[in-house]
């Protein structure tokens, strides 16, 4: 049993790592096919041809893209993420900013899951009731809202008109107040989506015989919710939350730009604009690894829920 399980886990891991490397290769080549290169973007416009050539050679841009990718990916496996077009160590740059993005994304995700569970539970207390209909309708609207629209509205109302919350984050690790608007902007659309999933998953469980039995036994609503509905609905809810991880990290690119949040999102945008392939790939690698970890965690929740029933 155990050897079999180990093989399965190892197989899954290998598959995920191979997927990640393939993703990185695609990213690297995608930057390559964009017109322009990192040297033109990083030197001043009146630099001489000799300066351009020297910088191009220093960055290895005179090598074929395959060789550069190989060199870079080999470095990654030995813990070296390479240098940017301007000679900064990529590890210093991205690892300094990764915690910020994780803080923003992680908080948004926790808020999302808690809010979705609370709202979904409210719905299922009286299916078809006033609260259920109101929440379901609002959730539908919320999930259709793009983050940038939510962010802009929040800035206008809470920062510019009411002046109660800051519109821009400053340096890393500033006050938690600066997190409020970015987290709401990032979480709101996800809350909409996850609430609908929670509501549906609970609804599905409501019709099952063991829940019916519990209701007939006269157990309290709370106990039915936590002991009968939640375990059955957990795999679906976990899968939805895992999907949200990708959405949140993607949304963070926009949100960080709007709030001047010192995370990875703005680094990614600038890296693409400046054709800095190793930097783009490093950001993708980190976020890819992060999502992989979450997916593995999600698998674990499903295994737990499946085994516990």
């Amino acid at each position: 049993m155990i050897p079999h399980r180990t093989t399965r886990v190892l197989g899954q891991l290998t598959r995920r790592v191979v997927t990640l490397v393939a993703l990185l290769a695609i990213t690297f080549f995608a930057v390559e096919v964009l017109p322009g290169d990192a040297v033109v973007s990083s030197l001043s416009q009146d630099a001489s041809d000799a300066e351009f050539a020297a910088r191009r050679a220093a960055l290895g841009l005179d090598q074929p893209v395959l060789a550069r990718f190989w060199h870079w990916i080999a470095g990654v496996f030995s813990g070296d993420l390479g240098t940017t077009a301007r000679g900064q160590h990529i590890a210093d740059l991205v690892l300094g900013r990764l915690p910020q993005t994780m803080l923003l994304g992680g908080t948004a995700l926790v808020v999302t899951v808690l809010a979705a569970l609370a709202l979904g539970s409210l719905c299922v207390l009286r299916p078809g009731g006033r609260a259920d209909r109101a929440i379901a309708g609002t959730a539908m609207v919320a999930l259709a809202l793009p983050e940038f629209a939510v962010a802009t509205a929040l800035v206008v109302v809470f920062a510019i008109w009411l002046r109660v919350l800051p519109a821009a984050t400053g340096t890393a690790a500033t006050s938690p107040v600066a997190l409020v608007l970015p987290v709401i902007a990032l979480a709101l659309p996800q809350i909409g989506w996850n609430t609908r999933v929670v509501r549906a998953a609970f609804g599905e469980q409501l019709g099952t015989p063991h829940v019916d039995a519990a209701v007939l036994d006269g157990l309290s609503r709370r106990r039915i919710l936590t002991h009968y509905l939640l375990p059955g609905a957990a795999p679906t809810i976990a899968a939805a939350a895992a999907t949200s991880v990708g959405m949140v990290l993607g949304g963070a690119v926009t949100i960080e730009a709007i709030f001047n949040f010192p995370g990875l999102g703005s680094v990614l945008i600038d890296a693409v604009q400046h054709r800095d392939a190793p930097l783009v790939a490093a950001v993708v690698a980190l976020t890819g690894a992060l999502i992989t970890v979450v997916l593995i965690g999600c698998d674990a929740v499903r295994a737990w829920a499946g085994g516990g029933r």
Partner: protein, 512 residues
């Protein structure tokens, strides 16, 4: 990339909505102005400046693409000379300067009692070492053209000697930017002591806090401290000044000024002649090689409309001459006005093919540029020239189009000197010779003006230079945009100089 572009587009939309909300929520009134009265001492000025995390450069001898980095360096380190209105250079570390007969050997006398932030004295050795380091840096040849490393030396404790390979009356002008001075032998330039009006308290991830240097030789500094906050994008920087999170948004641009300027408590600081906007027509080959065609295009545009619409009226029409802020700018050369009939006639004479359309390449590198391309296309249509505007992203534009395409929009950010611009963009051998222009008369005039010591004669030669440029260069210079800062109405003493003059915050003060 597609989704990223879409995101950027959406962000632009979002910024516009924020700007609309900011402008729309208060009744239109007269814009706020700077506080009056004598400067008050004390307080911390919070300044926002644009900068990208991946482009942070703390080395004063490097190339700093970030506004935020350049601002921080300028407050920590003094330069040999500084930009000024008229004349164009003012003393800083050097109190006076003179050239030898041949205009090749320049002697700069340095101020007395200059000390580094750690208390040690600053001598000519330190200054010479720093200028040599700048010369040896990656961009050294373009920063200090015509000057060899061996031509930079100290002479006694208070004299810096600069020797040029050729006669050059503009050496003090060359030293007004980026000649930051550190202590001789500094090995780690990031955060090393300088002599500037402020010293470093801390630097984190592009942001910094600087505190007043009480021993600064350059005069009284009113502020206790300056905090520089790096902003990735203009929109969030503008939001921050509107909400009072910062006191000054440096280089915020015309769009921000138009909307945010109506808000109570926010002043719009206009710094005229900051950036020249122009269209480049390639002169060496292609459809615009015929001077008559270039003249026709120059006559077909409505410059006033371009200024009003592309840069929201924050600027003035220009006359196909770069260096609009130069005291020697030839105001007597008649402004080229729109004349569609004459344009059509010239095009006919030149046999210009009006059946096909011509690509006008542009990018969103600076505000107003892409907008100007669309307006230009409409205006040229009236002269029968069909224009197809192609918007490129920055890296493509800089790599594949600038200096190469037959027709594209461009800009240049230093407008305080006709001769400086000519040397950078117009003479045959300039690296950035955008229009591939080789005009013997122009080159000769340029050589003469830089090798003339006599101011009066220099002014006459500068005039000749401008006349030739106005008549036949490949640059349609349609406007000179103001540099624009947004500031709280509590901030006084802000600089109104164009370009890099915006970083001179040592005289700023807060009213309360």
């Amino acid at each position: 990339m597609a989704s990223l572009t879409r995101r950027r587009m959406l962000q632009a939309g979002a910024a516009a909505v924020t700007a609309w909300a900011a402008g729309g929520c208060t009744p239109e009134g007269t814009p706020a102005s700077a506080p009056t009265g004598p400067p008050r001492n004390g307080g911390t000025l919070r300044v926002g400046a644009i900068g990208k995390a991946a482009a942070i450069v703390r080395d004063p001898f490097g190339v700093q693409p970030n506004d935020s980095d350049y601002l921080i360096l300028s407050l920590l380190y003094d330069t040999v000379t500084i930009p000024a209105k008229s004349p164009l250079v003012a003393p800083r570390l050097a109190t006076r300067w003179e050239a030898g007969e041949d205009l090749r050997t320049w002697r700069f006398t340095l101020a007395e009692n200059v000390a580094f932030h750690d208390g040690s004295p600053c001598t000519a050795e330190d200054v010479a070492w720093s200028v040599r380091r700048l010369r040896q840096s990656e961009a050294g040849t373009s920063r200090l053209p015509g000057i060899d490393v061996s031509g930079i030396r100290a002479e006694g404790p208070r004299t810096l000697v600069i020797e040029s390979r050729y006669p050059n009356s503009r050496i003090p002008l060359l030293l007004r930017l980026t000649t930051f001075v550190q202590k001789k032998g500094t090995t780690d330039p990031a955060g090393a002591p300088g002599t500037g009006p402020f010293e470093l308290d801390w630097f984190r991830d592009g942001n910094a806090r600087l505190v007043r240097n009480d021993n600064w030789f350059g005069g009284e500094v009113h502020l206790d401290a300056i905090e520089v906050r790096m902003f990735d994008r203009t929109a969030s920087m503008v939001n921050a000044v509107l909400t009072g999170e910062i006191d000054l948004a440096s280089n915020a641009g015309a769009v921000a000024a138009r909307t945010a300027g109506k808000r109570d408590g926010v002043q719009v600081v206009r710094r005229p002649d900051d950036t020249a906007h122009y269209v480049v027509m390639r002169t060496s080959d292609g459809p615009f090689a015929d001077p008559r065609v270039r003249e026709a295009v120059k006559l077909a545009v409505d410059r006033k409309a371009l200024v009003d619409q592309a840069i929201s009226g924050y600027g003035k029409p220009a006359n196909d001459i770069l260096g609009t802020g130069d005291p020697c700018y030839a105001k007597d050369i008649p402004q080229r006005e729109r004349n569609i009939d004459r344009a059509r006639k010239l095009l006919d004479e030149a046999g210009f093919d009006r059946s096909r359309s011509y690509q006008l390449l542009t990018t969103e590198e600076i505000p107003g540029m892409a907008e100007s391309a669309t307006l230009l296309a409409n205006q040229l249509q009236e002269a029968g020239v069909k224009i197809d505007v192609r918007k490129q992203d920055q890296a493509t534009f800089l790599g594949a189009s600038r200096g190469k395409a037959p027709l594209y929009t461009s800009f240049y950010g230093t407008q305080d000197s006709v001769v400086f611009c000519a040397g950078k963009l117009l003479v045959s051998e300039s690296k950035l010779n955008e229009a591939a222009w080789h005009d013997p008369a122009f080159d000769a005039a340029y050589q003469q003006v830089v090798s003339t010591a006599d101011d009066k004669r220099g002014a006459q030669l500068s005039h000749d230079l401008q006349q030739v440029q106005h008549e036949r260069s490949g640059l349609l210079v349609w406007g000179a945009a103001d540099g624009i800062d947004l500031a709280s109405d509590k901030v006084g003493g802000l600089p109104d100089l164009p370009g890099y003059g915006r970083v001179q915050l040592e005289r700023a003060w807060l009213s309360g």
